[in-house]
Every structure is written in C-alpha cells, then in structure tokens.
Subunit: 232 residues, 2 copies
Amino acid sequence: MTQATFYGIGVGPGDPELLTLKAARLIAQVDVVAYPSTTWKESTARSIAQAHIQSNQTEYPIPLPMRADRTETEAIYTQAAHDIDHYLTQGRHVAFLCLGDPMLYGSFVYLYRRLHHQHPISIVPGINSFSAASAVSKIPLATLEQSLSLVAGSIPDAALIDALNQHDTVIILKAGRHRHHIASLICKAGRTQEAAYIEHASKPEQQIHHNITQLPDGPGTYFSLFLVARQS
Amino acid sequence: MTQATFYGIGVGPGDPELLTLKAARLIAQVDVVAYPSTTWKESTARSIAQAHIQSNQTEYPIPLPMRADRTETEAIYTQAAHDIDHYLTQGRHVAFLCLGDPMLYGSFVYLYRRLHHQHPISIVPGINSFSAASAVSKIPLATLEQSLSLVAGSIPDAALIDALNQHDTVIILKAGRHRHHIASLICKAGRTQEAAYIEHASKPEQQIHHNITQLPDGPGTYFSLFLVARQS
C-alpha cells in the first residue's frame, strides 16, 4: 500500500475562484477533507471549497474556538492530529483546508508539527488576504526596494508605531476588533493618507474604507486588515 | 459597446497548477494577452499560463530588460501603456500576466498607474514566491503574534541586520546575486539555524538549501529568496 499523504491546502481569502487549480484538484481527489469549524456557524474554509468536495468523501470538521486559551486549543489540535493520523495509517489521503495560506498564521502549522515525523506532507500555498485586499483596494503593496512589514493588530502600540516609522508598507492583520485604536496610531504616525481598512476582501460582504478617520462605530470583523503603503 | 477592462493577473511562482481558477478563466477569455518578455529568452509568465492561452487571442510581449536603468524601463512602460490603451479603446479586453502577485513587486503596477484613469481595471491576486518557498521547504512563515518583514536582497547591510534583529520572520527576495554576502549577514545576526535559501520554488529546477553556510559557489538566480523564521 502506498503511504497516504497529509495535504495542507490554502483555499485563499474568500472568493471560491481564488482557489488554485492544484487545490481544487487535490480537494476532489483525497479520501478525507478536514477543516476548522466553529460551534456557532459553518466552516468558512469549507464553504470556499464546497464546489470541489465530493459526496463520497469523508468530512472531518475540527471545532477550533477562535478565542480560547492556548491550552484548550492545543488539546484540540492534539486530538485532531490523532484522528488524522488514524485516517493516514489506514492509507486514506487527508486534506486540511486553510483560509489564505496554510503557512502564514494558518492553523495547519500546528497539525503539521504533530504529524510530519510519521507521514508524508504536501503543502499547497494559497492566496493571502493581503494580496486580495491590495487587489480590491488597488493599493500596490511594494515596488522596487521598498520594504514591507506584516504585523498582527494585537501587538503593543510601540511596536506598531515602530513598524509604521520603519517600513514603506505595513500590513496590519486581524485588525477589526481594535480598528479605531489602530486607525488613531496610523494617524499619529502621520500616514493617514496612505492607509485603507478592508474587511472580507474578495467576498460578497467586502468593505473598503479609504478614509480611516471615518470608520463605522464599534469593532470590525476578524477578517479585516489595514494596508498602509507609501506610493513612490 | 461595453468598456473593455485591463486585467492584472498573477500567475504565481512557477508551477502552472498554482494559477487560480479565476486567472485561468480570464486568461482564456480576454482578447489580448500581454506579458513581460526578455530579449534573450521566452517569457516565464507566458510559459506558466500557456495551457490557457487560446490560438485566436492576440499576444503582446513587452520587452522589459531586467537590469536596465529606470529611464529606459519607464520609456518601455509608457510605450506598452500606449499600446494597451489602444487595444482597450478598441473594446478589446487585455490581460497582463505577472509572476507571483501583480501588486507585490510586480511590473503591473507601472502599467496600472498609467492606465487606471481611462479604463476599468481588475486585479487577480497570485501566489507569492515566498508562500511557495515556505510550502516546499516546510518552514512556517509566522504563527500567532509573530511579525514578518519582507525586504529586497539589495538593501543596505545595516537595514538587513536591523530587520533580522527586529522580526521573527524575515523574507529576503531577489537574493541570488548576493547570496553569499546575505548568508554571511544572517550568520552575523545569529540566525543561521533558522534560515533556508530557496531557488525557483515550485518549478522543476527548484533547489532548497537548509544549510546556508554551504551554498554552491558564485551567484544564484534572480528567482531566489532566503527565509529566516523563528520556530516558536
């Protein structure tokens, strides 16, 4: 029997057409399709890939709470790795669907670390949310020798200000929850005119705000980011 | 007559299967397929997209020298924008193929800036070389609150050392020409064990060097990068 492979598959930012040909082919070919799900709603990764999932495939949703403490999350990954190991040992190929790219802030990494000593692994890169945000807002990310920094919206204020002072382009991910505070820091760094705030890039509910001083009240969604980019 | 659209299309890092479904569909649908070419060999972007180009489409290669001075390059972009404007004004949809992502160090940006006031523009994001490099080397780019910086291999030494000191992950693009010097700076920053050097990620000629102190002699290719990533 050939050894079964564990595939980490990026399904991109949201538009089902932003799947790669390779992702679409492999999703349709594997025996088991795994994906993160939440207790309160369907899996976003699954809904993006839906057209390629076959009725004879086994589906394995992994209930990953989005704001749990790490101990609980680690226990869920360990259980999921155990179950995936079981499928693979039976000779069944498994794909784990990841929003965006599996290797950039993707939950695939935690499963990879638990399984790569025992099983062949293959990773299919996906379109990142910031590439989609750049495409829909038409703000170029970088040209020539410009430098770019990618940070999480939850880093300390001083670190964010440093990034804004040092890099031509700063991408602030998972920014929605603190969007008003982050917008004020961008203004403080003198880069208001170069900034945009984007939610759900490439999805039907996509929103683009080119004036970050006039964001709607309250927190935004998890699927959100700021692009701050010097236009040379 | 409907207004014709100018499409900036990312064709990804090299593997023709890493095109998105959207890129494949649009390449097959437009009237004119444009791409950067060089005087000494075929266009890499075209060869990646080849399977989707139809025999009845007009092809428009744009001869972009890779190391010309900017004055010459700007003149070539101006001429290309003029020709693309002509196609669009005739009502013919034009796609410009870009390696990787059109908005990240992509030549599309220069055409976009010249044409977006006159014509509708649509941008299709592509898989970045560093996502492909991460996938094939199996080095995760970032998790949780790690920060990531993307720099060109030609920036001053001090700036590169700063990036290596300040960020969990540093991606050094277009690194081949100076790979031995860059490797020595990574060692100087104490991050040798966390680094890999990758050429042509996802292409048949792909090379992965996990030990950057033992790179082959001489310069490497333009399609190359270093990944330096702290594994938490």
